[in-house]
């Protein structure tokens, strides 16, 4: 189905795969280190301009760590000039006061600061560098320059018990929006899922703490808590439907309908070096592949909820079942749902030693990435 009425309202530009952190739940592709042929400044500005003409209005500058791009100021300035509402999604590393001030002048809409945890030790372990103090400093600067204060904390088994400290930290930083999203198990997080899936008790406890906190602070802070979808029985409406809203451009120029789609088998990935954004969005086989409902297999095909969740996530279906056309196995109508429940069951009984886990968990590093690429060739 060629759905021309939809617009790529959200353009996500993963302007670099380079990152000073080594998060164990990173959603960048496992073989990211092989895709180091980054688009140059001019190419990015052309992408922004073409997408804007097509109707993109929200721009995410993400990565990797977008602050590692030497031309980050130019990219922010040019995107704002084009009329984007530009969102910088950063760990805060490399974000100096001078840059924050300049970004404000250019018209940057928000800085979304990611935190791995609230206590310094665990934070440093989970991102594997000493960054917590720096992030606290950046948070103060974000306030000083009157940006909305958006904190993004990725939750998982090893930090979810710290939710109270995380919330108090957010309060101290005067955060306006706090997203406490459990890890989604793709890429590095999928690789490490055995050590990242929280137990049912951990989740119940986190929800209780969250409720208490909500009562305490009222609605001056907007809190979003996202369950790990392995605990759900219906899939998420991934990307609001394939090719309906979201356009992701990876560091090397590959255009994707989501962050993860480059892992899908037997597909032609269009690159912005070869094609216009208009062609990619409207004509390319990739963006049309899962538009609408014609591609669906059972049980999705005859399901009365298909217009609500669009069959869930194609990448998750592929990761877990090997078939990207199948129903997202998060759905308990999927014949493969048992794989999810078994993973969850395993998590309940698993004993994790925090000293031990450091040795078995796979950090997102160039070395690990290259070794994985090598193995898969």
């Amino acid at each position: 189905m060629n759905n021309k009425s939809s617009l790529p309202l959200w353009l996500n530009a993963e302007i670099t795969y380079k990152c000073p952190l080594h998060c164990v739940f990173c959603y960048n592709p496992l073989n990211y280190a092989k895709h180091d042929n980054e688009l140059d400044t001019e190419a990015w500005i052309r992408v922004f301009s073409e997408a804007r003409k097509l109707g993109s209005v929200q721009l995410g500058l993400s990565g990797g760590e977008p602050m590692l791009r030497k031309d980050i100021e130019i990219l922010v300035e040019e995107s704002c000039k084009l009329g984007f509402f530009t969102n910088l999604i950063t760990s805060g590393i490399g974000l100096t006061e001078e840059k924050i001030e300049n970004f404000k002048r250019y018209g940057l809409g928000q800085i979304q600061l990611s935190f791995q945890d609230s206590t310094k030790e665990l934070n440093d372990f989970l991102s594997s560098t000493k960054t917590f103090e720096l992030k606290s400093k950046v948070a103060k600067l974000i306030k000083k320059y009157k940006y909305p204060m958006v904190l993004n904390v990725v939750l998982h088994r090893l930090n979810i018990d710290h939710i109270e400290e995380i919330l108090n930290m957010a309060l101290e930083m005067q955060a306006d929006h706090v997203e406490l999203a459990n890890t989604q198990y793709y890429a590095w997080a999928y690789l490490n899922r055995e050590n990242l899936i929280p137990t049912k008790d951990q989740i119940l406890n986190a929800e209780k703490k969250l409720e208490e906190f909500r009562k305490k602070v009222g609605n001056k802070m907007k809190l979003y808590f996202v369950l790990p979808d392995y605990y759900e029985t219906r899939p998420k409406a991934c990307m609001n439907g394939w090719g309906t809203t979201f356009l992701n451009i990876a560091a090397d120029g590959m255009a994707l309908p989501c962050h993860e789609a480059r892992m899908l088998p037997n597909i032609d990935l269009p690159n912005v070096r070869d094609h216009s954004i208009d062609w990619i969005w409207n004509e390319s086989s990739l963006f049309n592949k899962y538009r609408g409902f014609d591609w669906m297999e059972e049980p999705c095909k005859s399901c009365n909820e298909k217009e609500k969740d669009f069959g869930g996530c194609r990448c998750q279906a592929f990761l877990i079942t090997g078939n990207p056309d199948s129903t997202d196995p998060i759905c308990d109508k999927s014949p493969n749902h048992y794989i999810i429940t078994e993973d969850v069951k395993k998590a309940q009984n698993k004993i994790i030693d925090k000293n031990e886990v450091q040795n078995v968990i796979k950090f997102r590093t160039d070395k690990n990435s290259l070794a994985i690429s090598e193995k898969n060739n």
């Binding site: 617009l7 309202l9 959200w10 003409k53 097509l54 109707g55 209005v57 929200q58 995410g60 009329g83 509402f85 969102n87 809409g109 928000q110 979304q112 009157k146 909305p148 958006v150 306006d176 929006h177």
Partner: protein, 89 residues
């Protein structure tokens, strides 16, 4: 209750702009977008610079002299304040 003499303006978090691709005005905020109908857009335009409700209403009345607008404008502005699209200076 609406204070009709205190100046109101578009909240700092929000941006108001025309979207050619959608042929409408929108309100943009971090990671989000609200499409605006014609009358909502006309009302919000009044507050791109700080202005009191009273002055905004008389501007709008002058612009649309034949329309009975007071109730609709009051309802919308109250809603916009509640939603934090507009804030008192």
């Amino acid at each position: 209750m609406l204070n009709d003499t205190k100046k109101l303006k578009l909240s700092a978090q929000y941006r108001f702009q025309w979207e050619e691709a959608q042929k409408c005005y929108v309100l943009l905020y971090p990671e989000g977008l609200i499409k605006l109908g014609q009358s909502s857009a006309e009302i919000l335009k009044q507050f791109l610079e700080p202005q009191s409700f009273k002055d905004a209403l008389s501007n709008l009345q002058a612009k649309f002299p034949d329309a009975k607008i007071e109730n609709d404008v009051t309802t919308f502005v109250s809603h916009a304040i509640e939603k934090n699209w507009l804030e008192y200076e």
